[in-house]
């Protein structure tokens, strides 16, 4: 795998076009790591000069801030901003909507100003620019895919169409859930819920959302967020549908269609 760190680029005296912010899930979670690899394969195939921070990357602080620990958030943010500014980073792409939101909307106030792009938008641009050519073609034809909106991409940042355009490029049969776009139902992991058991209730949110996804009859649930990935995968397992229904990140679907 051809992945160069920011430190290595700097040692060569070169600046990459874009920094790929991997995020904690993309670095440590086994399922999300496969998304990271798929995205790296796509980047490598396009020949884009990119870098990662490697072990210099740390949590953006999103879950700490949302759980109310502002000190911890700002400690993380300030440290990350020092590293990013130290390398003169201008442009960041990330596959995690939570990292995306924090880097884009919350770091500027603390001195971190970057062009931040989520991989859904990034992939859409690559497809539009003809840098990603979906040669395989046909393998997705007629495959029913439903897209689950990530709250931090959708409502939080008004990105609803980019991931859908990416999926449309696959020539698949895109079906919508009843709640979608601005009214999309959360997977249940946002606001630091990912890191604790839910409060007492009648049902888990991810089960409710999975039921809505399964009701579409799609055999692929497309996601664009590592937390949604975990929640929806758990939901599908809970419904004992993992043999028929796959939960995939949009980057994985593009890599698959490209034959990477």
């Amino acid at each position: 795998m051809n992945v160069t760190t920011m430190a290595e680029w700097a040692a060569k005296g070169e600046t990459p076009e874009v920094l790929f912010w991997v995020g904690c899930a993309g670095s440590f979670d086994d399922r999300a790591k496969r998304v990271t690899l798929a995205f790296v394969k796509i980047l490598n195939a396009t020949g884009i000069k990119f870098a990662v921070l490697g072990t210099e990357e740390t949590c953006t602080g999103d879950p700490a801030r949302r759980a109310g620990n502002e000190f911890l958030f700002q400690m993380q943010a300030m440290n990350n901003i020092q590293v990013l500014n130290g390398y003169g980073v201008k442009k960041i792409v990330t596959a995690c909507p939570h990292c995306f939101n924090t880097l884009k909307n919350e770091y500027p106030e603390l001195g971190g100003n970057y062009e931040v792009i989520h991989h859904a938008t990034f992939l859409q641009q690559l497809i539009n620019d003809g840098k990603v050519k979906l040669a395989g073609g046909g393998s997705f034809k007629g495959r029913k895919i439903t897209y689950h909106d990530s709250c931090y991409l959708g409502r939080a940042n008004n990105i609803y169409e980019a991931p859908r355009e990416v999926l449309q490029a696959l020539d698949a049969d895109l079906v919508e859930m009843k709640r979608c776009r601005t009214t999309g139902l959360c997977c249940g992991a946002g606001g630091a819920q990912m890191f604790k058991e839910p409060e007492p209730g009648k049902k888990d949110i991810n089960i409710a959302r999975t039921e809505e996804a399964l009701a579409t009859g799609a055999n692929t649930i497309a996601v664009a967020c590592p937390f949604c990935m975990t929640m929806m995968s758990d939901g599908v397992k809970n419904k004992e549908k993992e043999a028929d229904v796959k939960v995939k990140d949009i980057a994985e679907l593009i890599a698959e269609a490209e034959g990477l």
């Binding site: 979670d29 879950p63 109310g68 940042n157 606001g191």
Partner: protein, 434 residues
């Protein structure tokens, strides 16, 4: 006789004015219990938001059936109240329909327009009553919709219906009096909708008609004045506060959370990026435990809430049976303000009554159930942001009390020690590429 009416009218107007002024000052005082926040930026965009969202009801039209019905009531409220101007002049001057001779044909056109709106308001209110009480839409009957909030909503609708009937019966009797050549009743030209009520009154004597006309006139104007006083105690305040609330609503992306500059100063000094703040200005509290820890615009939002429940009906936590309801958060903030305000009015302890917003009104179970998904914020037709309040309460829980759920405390610890919310060694972060 006429002069007696004028004096009674002036007195009524004075009493209503006094009561409204008193309540407005109380509400203003309650809102100003909140923290100072200067919101003076991007005035053009704010004005645009207010015109589109409050005046133009843009967000209501996501659900077009209630939106259309609501629009009739809203337009009726705005436009029929123009007639109140005439009522007040007539009441004070002892005249009758002072604008009729001045406006001529236009007066007839206007009155017919008002009557159309009156009928539309009537119909909309009846349908709304049916939706609430017969169809029992779930969002009007969830846990926090206890007796008073439900009665409040029904009262508002019933009062509006009664006011509209008063207009129609007043116009009907007025037309009959005109047709009988009563000189006091200036010709208005035919009025379409109220003419349907004329047969009911036809058999009355001229004196009887005068009594009906006067009764309806007084009922309508005293009703409107009384309703204005009532509104200040009711959820119906949104008719005024939706405007400032949409103006002052955040313009940031919904995913953005307000920064805490006090923390920034401290973190910078800890990291050696800035000298320690000379005399650490007493930061007050981190986050919010009570209403005075929230900013004034959060408090104003609570008075702007009309308890429609669109937020709660979209909340993933609420939908799956958790205690959290964004509407309840807003209702609790308001209840707390009212309780504190009442206490202050009586010379009582006010905020120091031994109760606090977090704990006595809102529980931790509620705030800890929020996924910060912004569904409630997106759903609110008047740009109320319950999430901002939930987050301030969580900040208090985490930073003042260190009483976050155990698993969150572990997550904090993991971030502190291994720079990730999970307990993996930081040195393994790049292993995915191997």
């Amino acid at each position: 006789m006429a002069i007696v009416q004028q004096i009674v009218f002036l007195a009524t107007l004075g009493i209503a004015g006094y009561l409204i002024r008193k309540r407005v000052l109380r509400i203003r005082g309650n809102i100003l219990l909140g923290k100072d926040a200067s919101i003076t930026d991007r005035k053009d965009q704010r004005l645009k938001n207010m015109l589109l969202v409050a005046f133009g009801q843009k967000k209501m039209f996501k659900r077009w059936i209630p939106a259309t019905l609501h629009f009739f009531i809203y337009a009726g409220f705005l436009i029929i109240n123009l007639e109140v101007l005439e009522f007040i002049i007539d009441g004070l001057a002892g005249t009758h329909r002072i604008f009729a001779p001045v406006l001529g044909g236009a007066y007839n056109f206007l009155m017919n327009g008002f009557e159309f709106l009156a009928v539309a308001v009537l119909a909309a209110c009846v349908i709304f009553l049916i939706r609430r009480n017969v169809l029992k839409l779930p969002r009007f009957h969830s846990a926090e919709m206890t007796r008073w909030p439900r009665m409040d909503a029904n009262l508002i609708l019933c009062i509006e219906i009664a006011l509209m009937f008063a207009i129609l019966f007043m116009n009907a009797s007025d037309q009959l009096l005109q047709s009988r050549g009563h000189e006091h009743y200036t010709p208005t030209g035919p009025l379409f909708f109220s003419s349907f009520f004329m047969p009911v009154l036809q058999s009355l004597s001229t004196t009887g008609l005068e009594v009906v006309e006067r009764f309806c006139w007084w009922f309508h104007i005293v009703g409107i004045l009384g309703f204005s006083v009532y509104i200040t105690y009711s959820k119906h305040l949104h008719i005024f506060l939706a405007f400032p609330n949409t103006y002052y609503a955040t313009l940031e992306a919904k995913g953005h959370i307000n920064n805490m500059p006090v923390v920034t100063a401290e973190v910078k000094s800890m990291l050696g990026l800035a000298p320690a703040p000379a005399a650490p200005a007493m930061p007050g509290r981190f986050g919010a435990k009570d209403i005075n820890d929230l900013s004034w615009n959060n408090l104003m939002a609570a008075y702007s809430c009309t308890e429609c429940g669109r937020c709660t009906s979209e909340c993933p936590a609420n939908l799956t049976g958790k205690r959290l309801s964004p509407r309840k958060i807003m209702m609790d903030v308001r209840d707390r303000m009212e309780d504190v305000g009442k206490s202050i009015e009586k010379g009582g302890p006010g905020l120091n009554d031994g109760k606090t917003l977090l704990g006595d009104y809102i529980t931790k179970e509620e705030i800890n159930a929020c996924t910060s998904c912004n569904a409630c914020v997106e759903a609110c037709p008047v740009l109320i942001n319950p999430l901002e309040i939930i987050l301030e309460l969580r900040r208090f829980q985490a930073m003042e009390e260190s009483s976050s759920p155990q698993q969150w405390n572990s997550m904090f610890q993991n971030i502190e020690t291994s720079f990730a919310p999970w307990k993996f060694p930081a040195s393994d972060r790049f292993n995915w590429a191997k």
